[in-house]
Symmetry: C2
Subunit: 455 residues, 2 copies
């Protein structure tokens, strides 16, 4: 007999996993390593040490260890906002009149408003353990910067955030959250770094870009003794930390004897997607189970569905390492989509290799249909979702409606990465019927891909 | 042996209380009834029927029924965001180095961001049950309007919100949340009502006030067939619905054999305070237990600590009913405090009578010390609190520090009513060191009290 499933499944504290899962250990074809942008040789730990914390570099390069102990201090911090609930979307199921059973893992119940805190606290911990004074990072809309500010505040680390200038000025709210957590927030480009001064002298009126903010943050880390740079997505280490999402989901599902059929996650840099899906894909790699895993990306930035699997620069400025990944080309500029977190031209090397090897499929969805799904979800499930997360909602609804057609009672699990409380300009545009989506033409993508480095 | 207390206590679904508690049933001296503002006689149900829903009027006037069944549909909706966690503030205790044990009941994990949803869903339910087409209300910063929009969306009711014009224009975010939930949001004063047109013709440049928005919402309810007006605070019915907070807290505490010494809530209109505290005060009234209950109000609007227990109008316009309550006078205008939800000149009649009878004490705290507490709390407990809720945090910290002095390990429970995600202008002012607090002088209060109606 099926156990009665509550609306929200909260694990007990002792049920929270105490190890992260490293899917690389189970992959037959390992993801390609990062290349030095000058020598084009695989990056060594030594080369990375001026930029990243030692233990994080070890995690970045480790293709073999299947389970990594979560440090005690990180586990303790997790208790502040974890376990996150696995929610049975009874209200959504009813609204859709579907036989499908829908669940979502909700990562938004913390002040950073998203899953970013899972990696921020781990990265801050290793910085503290290494005896550093502080860390630097960049942020666009501010989710990652907020998460890292919270984590640094907890460990008493200095946190320097370079925030893209237009966001700093036009979206002051997350800036103030970061300041409340004690972070130093600098609009980028700034005159506090050489690269910032150079950009300002060339383009005095620029409102900044993520690429520029990254350059400033890296320079600031290298030029101050006792500082390192930390990054909130794309990297293997970030995906590793984010597996707490999928691992908790597995424990909750097993507790109620639920076997999912479909796993859905939104895909930007790939770390949240991998965090949710890789523990399930691990079961597939080990031949223990089979799932339909779906990555959902914006039609305006379709790395998986229309990009190429190739070595490319991770940044627009072409100074960062190269990664073998699904990419639209480092010079690809996506249109002004509201899901800022999904506007990266490339994708995690791990998720790229798994996609290449056929372990999941990908779909690109348009912005208006995403906000239609987001609005329905908000109305029936109560939580106003982030635009990024709503990409997963869109496809979860699509799949549930297919079940309605076919009469199948599939079990769908999707990741709800965060809340949309700081994205209300986007909702306003949708409510006013003014939202547009600019899908790149084949020519645009071909032109961008033609500039890929020849490796 | 003491059971290990987790960081967050979540009740199981079957443990959620299914009745609200009506403290009036246990009060020896009942709170005074509302008076008709013209006849000065106690308001009858018949007089209230054009404005409020029938069953809500019955709840408003019911001094006898101790426990009121929570309707099934409301219980079902509660599962969307309840039970709310009772959090053991281990991190705060450590930061304060106090032997005190601190707990807080957190009501902010829903899109309305506060406890307001507890009453909104009940009020929407009774409107639906009565067969109404829709409801009207007013909102200032938007918490109550958001909550009612969510509730109406769930029941398919039309929701018309009159939002104070300056908030409508300067704080567009909650406006967009309401619109996303399908509410019609009108800046007040508007030309959609007679009173709005009158005010606009007299003061064409006015940015509106809560009093004016209330008048418009009431007029809109009366003048449209199938509509009623709903209010989110002060009323007995609202306090009744909010007792879910205190009742859940009691279940959680009992589950872990915890006996609190001190109960702390912030006080604006009194419904959240009463919702948390009245089930505990009920135990005191019945002679079953004793607690130190503390109401915390802003020093800029000190109804309990510097007001008078007297009949007064509930609104600035002096057209609404009179209530016997602690009041600063209906003409009292508090300074521009950031805790908008605590700026009401009066107080719930129930809580006023209980205060008069000595069942709790009250403290007034200044804004800067409130934000100091809020910032510490955000940093160590992770959640960025609403300015209103932070009044309770301030006094909880004060009491915990007293325990540090005395060495007593008291158990403190406070209500964390909501999050501060839409209050970042206030945090910005605090972060910039520009926050001020204007405490009314004795002369100001005396002058305002001199205008109390002579009853």
């Amino acid at each position: 007999m099926e156990k009665k499933i509550p609306y929200k499944i909260y694990l007990e504290e002792h049920e929270i996993p105490n190890k992260w899962y490293n899917v690389r250990a189970d992959m037959t074809t390992k993801p390609a390593h990062l290349l030095n942008p000058i020598s084009l040789k695989p990056l060594t730990a030594e080369e990375l040490e001026p930029i990243f914390c030692k233990e994080l570099i070890a995690q970045e390069l480790d293709d073999d260890t299947r389970y990594v102990d979560i440090p005690e201090d990180v586990l303790k911090f997790y208790k502040m906002y974890r376990p996150s609930p696995l929610v049975r979307a009874y209200f959504l199921e009813k609204a859709l009149d579907t036989p499908a059973k829908i669940y979502y893992k909700f990562e938004g119940n913390n002040t950073s408003g998203s899953h970013k805190l899972n990696s921020a606290i781990a990265q801050a911990y290793y910085a503290k353990k290494q005896g550093l004074k502080g860390v630097t990072t960049e942020t666009g809309a501010g989710q990652w910067g907020t998460a890292l500010s919270m984590a640094c505040s907890y460990f008493g680390l200095d946190c320097q955030v370079f925030m893209v200038k237009c966001s700093y000025e036009q979206k002051p709210f997350r800036r103030e959250v970061m300041r409340t957590y004690g972070a130093k927030v600098t609009p980028s480009p700034s005159n506090t770094t050489a690269i910032g001064r150079k950009i300002l002298s060339e383009y005095p009126d620029t409102t900044g870009s993520l690429g520029c903010a990254i350059s400033e943050a890296v320079e600031a880390a290298i030029s101050q003794p006792g500082y390192r740079y930390e990054l909130g997505s794309v990297l293997n280490q970030v995906l590793l930390h984010q597996t707490i999402i999928g691992l908790e989901t597995q424990v909750a599902l097993r507790k109620y004897h639920i076997k999912p059929d479909i796993i859905i996650g939104c895909a930007g840099g790939g770390s949240n997607l991998g965090g949710l899906a890789s523990p399930f894909i691990g079961e597939m790699l080990r031949g223990e189970a089979d799932y339909q895993v779906i990555a959902v990306e914006p039609a305006s930035c379709p790395s998986f569905t229309r990009g190429r699997f190739a070595y490319d620069f991770c940044d627009t400025g072409m100074i960062c390492p190269l990664a073998k990944m699904y990419t639209l080309g480092s010079q690809f500029i996506p249109s002004a989509n509201h899901a800022g977190g999904l506007r990266f031209h490339g994708m995690s090397t791990i998720m790229s290799q798994l996609y290449h090897d056929g372990f999941f499929e990908a779909r690109a969805v348009e912005q208006n249909s995403v906000f239609e799904a987001a609005t329905l979800f908000a109305r029936v499930e109560g939580t106003l979702p982030a635009p990024e997360s709503s990409h997963a909602i869109r496809v979860a609804i699509d799949e549930a409606l297919k079940c309605k057609e076919s009469g199948e009672a599939k079990t769908i699990v999707f990741g709800l990465t965060g809340t949309g409380y700081f994205d209300l300009k986007a909702y306003e545009q949708y409510n006013d019927g003014k939202m547009q989506d600019v899908i790149p033409t084949d020519e645009q993508i071909a032109s961008s891909l033609a500039k890929l480095p020849k490796i």
